[in-house]
Amino acid sequence: MSILHTVNKSPFDRNSLESCVRLAAKGGAVLMIEDGVYGAMKGTSKSDMVSNAMKDLTFYVLGPDLKARGVDEGKLIDGVKVVDYSGFVNLTVENDKVQNWL
């Protein structure tokens, strides 16, 4: 069993990413979309939280949302994978269910 989690809030504005990391069971996938993509950037006050969670969770970020915000992929935390919408759909299928941290 595994869950695909989506996070669509900036971690500097809301606690969705933090709650997701706290309540996501091992083996899950976390996809950052919309303003959630800011949580994927390295060198921020939230980067360590994401890096530390990588031992249990796989992190993805939605490329079109990154590009829209002018965030270069080089600024992402090591290990975060970039997917497009078709990759998003694949993640939905590969995991057993979806939890959206709205």
Binding site: L23, K97, V98, Q99, W101
Partner: protein, 135 residues
């Protein structure tokens, strides 16, 4: 629809500031008619939904907190509250409305619907569900 699925409603928003808490409670009430295995989770600001002594007369809007007390009559009696969310907000069970149901398998004994669980237990409950309705 003979198949029974485990439905989990996840509440993470406080009441009144936005409509999500109220409209998600409407989903739970309607969903009760589908005779599925229903659980409701309260995490983050969602725990504020269950605070007692809510009084909206000064706002002139509907106070829907009493509706939670009816959940037991709809056979919605598995309400899980995350302990960490409760404690982070300086709340204890005493700050929440007592919510009960009558257990038909136990001579209609009145039982607590609310169960406080750890983050780990909550994560397991999410894993065990078939469908998560997120609000």
């Amino acid at each position: 629809m003979s198949e029974t699925k485990k439905l989990m409603y996840v509440n993470r928003k406080a009441p009144y500031g936005t409509i999500y808490a109220w409209e998600s409670l409407e989903v739970v009430l309607i969903g009760a008619a589908f005779e599925q295995d229903v659980s409701v989770a309260f995490v983050d600001d969602g725990v504020y939904q269950l605070c007692k002594d809510q009084d909206t007369t000064g706002l002139g809007i509907k106070n829907f907190s009493a509706t939670y007390k009816a959940l037991g009559d709809y056979d919605v009696n598995k309400l899980y509250i995350e302990k960490e969310s409760l404690e982070a907000r300086g709340l204890t069970l005493d700050d929440l409305m007592p919510l009960v149901y009558e257990d038909e398998d136990d001579d209609w004994a009145e039982k607590d619907s609310i169960k406080v669980v750890s983050s780990q237990e909550m994560a397991e409950l999410f894993e065990q569900s078939d469908v998560l309705f997120n609000f």
